[in-house]
C-alpha cells in the first residue's frame, strides 16, 4: 500500500521546475561524481549532474509560513496517512512554532510527504540520496573529501556531539562547505527524495544484490559486505537512518532542505 502511494506520489509529482532564478538561499552544486557507500556494480563512482541546493536546512519559521498558507499541513489537520503522530509535536500550537530562537531551529518531526509538499510549494523538490551525499562529501575547501579518513572522523565527532535532549540549535552554526552549503552534518538528519530506494524504485534488479539487499545490509554486521568503505561510519549511520524510515515517519532529529534543477527535476 505504502509502496503504491509512494510510487504514485513520485509518478504524479508536478515536474518541479526551479524558479527561473533560484534565490540567494540556494547554492549551485556543480556536476561531478562521488563514491556511494553502496549500490554500484564494481564500485564505480556515481555521476551527479549539476543542481541547486538550499544553503541551510528549512527552519521552523519557514515551515510555519507554509502551514499558514496550507492548512492541510497543520498539525491538527494533517491526514494520518501523510504524517505520524509525532508530526510537529514540539510546536506550541498548530501555527505557533515557538519564539524567535525556536523559529531559527531546523524544522524537524516532519514526514517525507510533508517535506516533499513544502519543497513543491516553492517550486523545488527534495534532493536525491546521490545529490545529498555528493554535496555532503565536501569540506570547507575541497569538493569531494567524503572518503578522506580525517574528514570521516571529523563528521563522526560532529554526530557524536549532537545534543541528547533532542533540542537542536538554530541553523547556520555548522561549517560552510566549498559550495556555500551549511549544516549538512552535525545538526539534523535530512530527508531525501529516494530515502529508501528499495521501496520507491523498481530497478533494484538492475543493481543486483547490491541494492536489493540494502535493507539487509543495514541491520547487522553483514553491512560491511559490499560497502565501498567499511570505515565510513558516518555514512553507515545515515544509510541506516534512512533504512528505518517510511514516508510518514517523523523524528526530532530529522529535518530537510530542498533542491532544484538537476536530473531529478
Amino acid at each position: 500500500m505504502l509502496h503504491f502511494l509512494l510510487s504514485l506520489a513520485i509518478a504524479t509529482a508536478p515536474s518541479a521546475k526551479p524558479s527561473a532564478k533560484p534565490s540567494a538561499t540556494m547554492a549551485r552544486i556543480p556536476a561531478g561524481s562521488y563514491q556511494p557507500l553502496y549500490g554500484t556494480i564494481g564500485g564505480a563512482p556515481v555521476a551527479v549532474t549539476s543542481f541547486w541546493l538550499d544553503r541551510e536546512p528549512v527552519t521552523r519559521g519557514e515551515y510555519l509560513e507554509f502551514v499558514k498558507r496550507s492548512p492541510a499541513w497543520r498539525r491538527g489537520e494533517v491526514r494520518p496517512l501523510f504524517a505520524g503522530a509525532g508530526y510537529l509535536s514540539a510546536w506550541r500550537g498548530d501555527i505557533d512554532a515557538g519564539d524567535a530562537t525556536d523559529r531559527r531551529r531546523p524544522v524537524t518531526e516532519i514526514s517525507w510527504f510533508a517535506a516533499k509538499a513544502y519543497c513543491e510549494s516553492k517550486g523545488k523538490r527534495l534532493p536525491t540520496v546521490d545529490e545529498w551525499e555528493y554535496a555532503a562529501s565536501a569540506s570547507e575547501t575541497r569538493a569531494t573529501v567524503g572518503r578522506d579518513a580525517g574528514f570521516i572522523r571529523r563528521i563522526l565527532a560532529l554526530y557524536a556531539a549532537r545534543p541528547s535532549d533532542g533540542i537542536l540549535p538554530p541553523v547556520g552554526g555548522g561549517f560552510r562547505n566549498v559550495y556555500g552549503v551549511r549544516d549538512m552534518h552535525g545538526l539534523a538528519w535530512e530527508w531525501t527524495l529516494d530515502f529508501n530506494d528499495v521501496m520507491v524504485s523498481d530497478d533494484s534488479r538492475e543493481s543486483g544484490s547490491a541494492a536489493g539487499g540494502r535493507d539487509h545490509k543495514l541491520f547487522c554486521a553483514s553491512a560491511a559486505i559490499g560497502a565501498s568503505d567499511p570505515s565510513n561510519y558516518p555514512a553507515f549511520m545515515r544509510y541506516a537512518f534512512r533504512a528505518g524510515l517510511t514516508g510518514r515517519s517523523t523524528a526530532r532529529t530529522l529535518g530537510f532542505r530542498c533542491a532544484a534543477g538537476g536530473a531529478a527535476s
Binding site: G84, G86, R153, L156, A157, Y159, A160, A161, R162, S164, D165, G166, D215, H216, K217, L218, F219, C220, A221, A223, S231, Y233, F236, M237, Y239, A240, F241, A243, G244, L245, S249, T250, A251, R252, T253, L254
Partner: protein
C-alpha cells in the same frame, strides 16, 4: 504414513540416513496433527542427534516480563507451562558515568549498561516491544542470540527515534544468550553500550541457589586515555585496532566495588550469569579466591565442567558459573588477561560475610599474619 520408529543398524549407511531425514521432514510437514511426543525416540536415533524443533507448545495465559538492571536478576520462573511473555524495552541515549569524572554518551537498552536482564522459559512465546526514545539521535534494533529468525530479530526491529517495533519468537533453545543492537554501523552501537542478556531457563528450571547476579564485561574505546576527565567519545581507530581504553564489568569502572560490591554470606550457593559483550576481546573470566564448582560452558543449558579456575567467554557469548562460598572476605572478579584488570578497570568484588573456617583457609606464618591468624 511410514512409522517413525525405525531401527538403524550401526554404522548407519548414508542412504538410510538420508531416507530417515526425508521421512522426518515428511512427518513434520505433512502430519501437522501428529503429536510431537511421538518423535523424540526417532530424533534421538537420527545420526547426529540434532533436533529440528517445532514451536508448538500450548501457550497458556500471558505475562509481562520483569526486567532488571545489573547486577540484579529477575526471580526464577516457577511456572511449569509455556506462556506468552511480553517484553517492553526502550532504547535511551544518555550521558552516563564511565569512571570517576569520566562521562560517555551511552546508548542503552532500558537506561543502563549493560541492558536489562530478560528471563523467560524454554517454550515461551515472547512478544518483544522495542521502543526508541524520542530524543534518540539514531535508529536502533535488537539481535537476541536466543532468537531463531532473521537477524535474531534485528530485521524486524529497526526503529527510528520515537518509534516502536514489535516482533515475536518462541524461545526454543534453553541457555544464556547475549542480545545487542545490530544497526549499522554495528561496532559503534555495541561500543556505545548496546548489549545485555536473556536467559531462557530450561523447562526443568535451574537448580536452586541462594544468590544470582548479572555481570557483563565490555570494552570502551575513548579519545582520551584511561581516566582522562570529562565527556569522552568513541575513538573509532582504537576500536578497529582492538585496543580498548576501558575493559569493565557492568558498564563502568568500579560498578561492582565499594558500596556496589556483590554481597553473599558464608554457606551461600552463588550463581553468576556472566556475559561478554566484547565488542572485540575474549574474556578469561576468573574469581580470585574461589573455584567454580559448575560451569555451563558458553552459556549452554547443561554443566559442561566442574572445578574450574578460569573460563573463557567469547565476545558475544556468555557463561554461567556456580559455586558455594566457604570463607568470608572479598572475592575478586577479573578478566585474567590481567593488565585489563589492573589498568583498564576489569574488577569487581563479591563480598562474603560470615565466620571464618580455619580448615578452609588459615594464614599460619608470614607478613600479614596477625595474632588473630587472619589478615
Amino acid at each position: 504414513m511410514t512409522s517413525p520408529r525405525i531401527h538403524l543398524p550401526a554404522p548407519f549407511p548414508l542412504s538410510k540416513i538420508v531416507l530417515v531425514s526425508a521421512i522426518a521432514v515428511a512427518t513434520l510437514t505433512a502430519a501437522t496433527t501428529v503429536a510431537w511426543r511421538g518423535l523424540p525416540s526417532f530424533t534421538a536415533r537420527n545420526a547426529a542427534g540434532i533436533p529440528v524443533r517445532a514451536a508448538n507448545d500450548k501457550i497458556v495465559g500471558e505475562e509481562v516480563a520483569v526486567l532488571t538492571q545489573a547486577p540484579d536478576v529477575p526471580p526464577p520462573i516457577t511456572r511449569s507451562y509455556s506462556t506468552k511473555v511480553i517484553v517492553n524495552l526502550e532504547v535511551i541515549e544518555k550521558p552516563m558515568r564511565l569512571a570517576d569524572s569520566v562521562e560517555y554518551t551511552m546508548w542503552t537498552f532500558g537506561g543502563s549498561v549493560p541492558g536489562r536482564f530478560i528471563r523467560v522459559r524454554e517454550g515461551d512465546l515472547v512478544e518483544f516491544h522495542l521502543k526508541n526514545a524520542p530524543n534518540s539521535t539514531m535508529p536502533h534494533n535488537i539481535d537476541l542470540h536466543a532468537v531463531t529468525g532473521p537477524g535474531g530479530g534485528a530485521k524486524a526491529s529497526l526503529t527510528v527515534p520515537g518509534g516502536e517495533s514489535v516482533f515475536s519468537f518462541t524461545a526454543m533453545n534453553p541457555g544464556l544468550f547475549v542480545y545487542h543492537c545490530a544497526t549499522s554501523p554495528v561496532p559503534m552501537h555495541m561500543a556505545n553500550g548496546m548489549y545485555g542478556m536473556i536467559l531462557v531457563e530450561p523447562k526443568g528450571g535451574l537448580p536452586k541457589v541462594d544468590r544470582e547476579f548479572y555481570v557483563m564485561q565490555s570494552e570502551f574505546y575513548t579519545k582520551g586515555r584511561y581516566g582522562e576527565h570529562g565527556m569522552q567519545m568513541l575513538d573509532m581507530d582504537k576500536g578497529i585496532d582492538e585496543k580498548p581504553t576501558y575493559v569493565v564489568f557492568n558498564g563502568a569502572v568500579a560498578a561492582l566495588t565499594g558500596d556496589r560490591a556483590l554481597q553473599a554470606k558464608v554457606g551461600d550457593r552463588v550463581r553468576l550469569f556472566v556475559g561478554n559483550a566484547g565488542p572485540n576481546l575474549t574474556s578469561s573470566f576468573h574469581v580470585i579466591g574461589e573455584i567454580f564448582d559448575n560451569v555451563y560452558s558458553e552459556g549452554g543449558s547443561s554443566v559442561g565442567e566442574h572445578n574450574v579456575g578460569t573460563t573463557s567467554i567469547p565476545a558475544g557469548g556468555s557463561t554461567i558459573v556456580e559455586f558455594g562460598v566457604e570463607q568470608p572476605g572479598d572475592l575478586v572478579l577479573v578478566d585474567h588477561a590481567i593488565f585489563r584488570a589492573f589498568n583498564k578497570g576489569t574488577l569487581g568484588i563479591l563480598h562474603v560475610s560470615g565466620d571464618e573456617n580455619a580448615k578452609v583457609f588459615a594464614a599460619i606464618k608470614g607478613i600479614g599474619v596477625t595474632a588473630k591468624g587472619g589478615e
